[in-house]
Symmetry: C2
Subunit: 110 residues, 2 copies
């Protein structure tokens, strides 16, 4: 039994729910993880996510890398070929994203 109530009660303690919000709440973050279901190159991701400004985009990638949700792999022989992929930590978020998407399709779309 998960004692979620315990971890979130009291005032202002570090609660997992708010931690997750800080981690995933910023714009583009969830989309990025979702599209990294399979490894992708920078430009691929950019195209999939849509019109994002490159500064924000890179910042998001760096942050996710720092949090060890994604890994950056640069091919040493073709230096301009960079791929991003999910770590195990990041991959375990996918079923949850699926559940959120299912919820959205049930309640948000016609």
């Amino acid at each position: 039994m998960l004692s979620i109530a315990n971890t979130t009660s009291g005032a202002g303690g570090a609660c997992p729910v708010s931690a997750v919000t800080r981690l995933l709440g910023s714009r583009w973050t969830m989309q990025l993880i979702h599209h990294l279901r399979q490894p992708r190159r920078y430009s691929e991701l950019q195209a999939l996510v849509g019109e994002v400004n490159p500064a924000t985009f890179t910042q998001r990638l760096r942050f996710l890398e720092q949090q060890e949700l994604i890994m950056r792999h640069e091919d040493p022989e073709h230096a301009r070929h960079v791929e991003y992929a999910l770590t195990p930590k990041g991959r375990e978020l996918l079923p949850i994203l699926d559940a959120l998407a299912a919820w959205a399709q049930k309640w948000l779309l016609v």
Copy 2:
């Protein structure tokens, strides 16, 4: 099989993942829903969530009400007694919040 890929590919179409971010990404939102697992009064919620400024707090409640994730119930006989509760739409988010909390406990906490 959920065709999530379809709904998010292409550029900038309304994708469920980003819709959910807009809905739940703001501060306090997830905590609020989480604590409304059982019906709560305004001041109860305030105490549970922690130090929130009342303007933001009310704004969030109004937004969630407008999105039909929560319901506001004011007792007509004791006008200063207000309770908030989840709608079915909001309630179906709880298992997902649980999953997120479980993920956080596995990967975020020591």
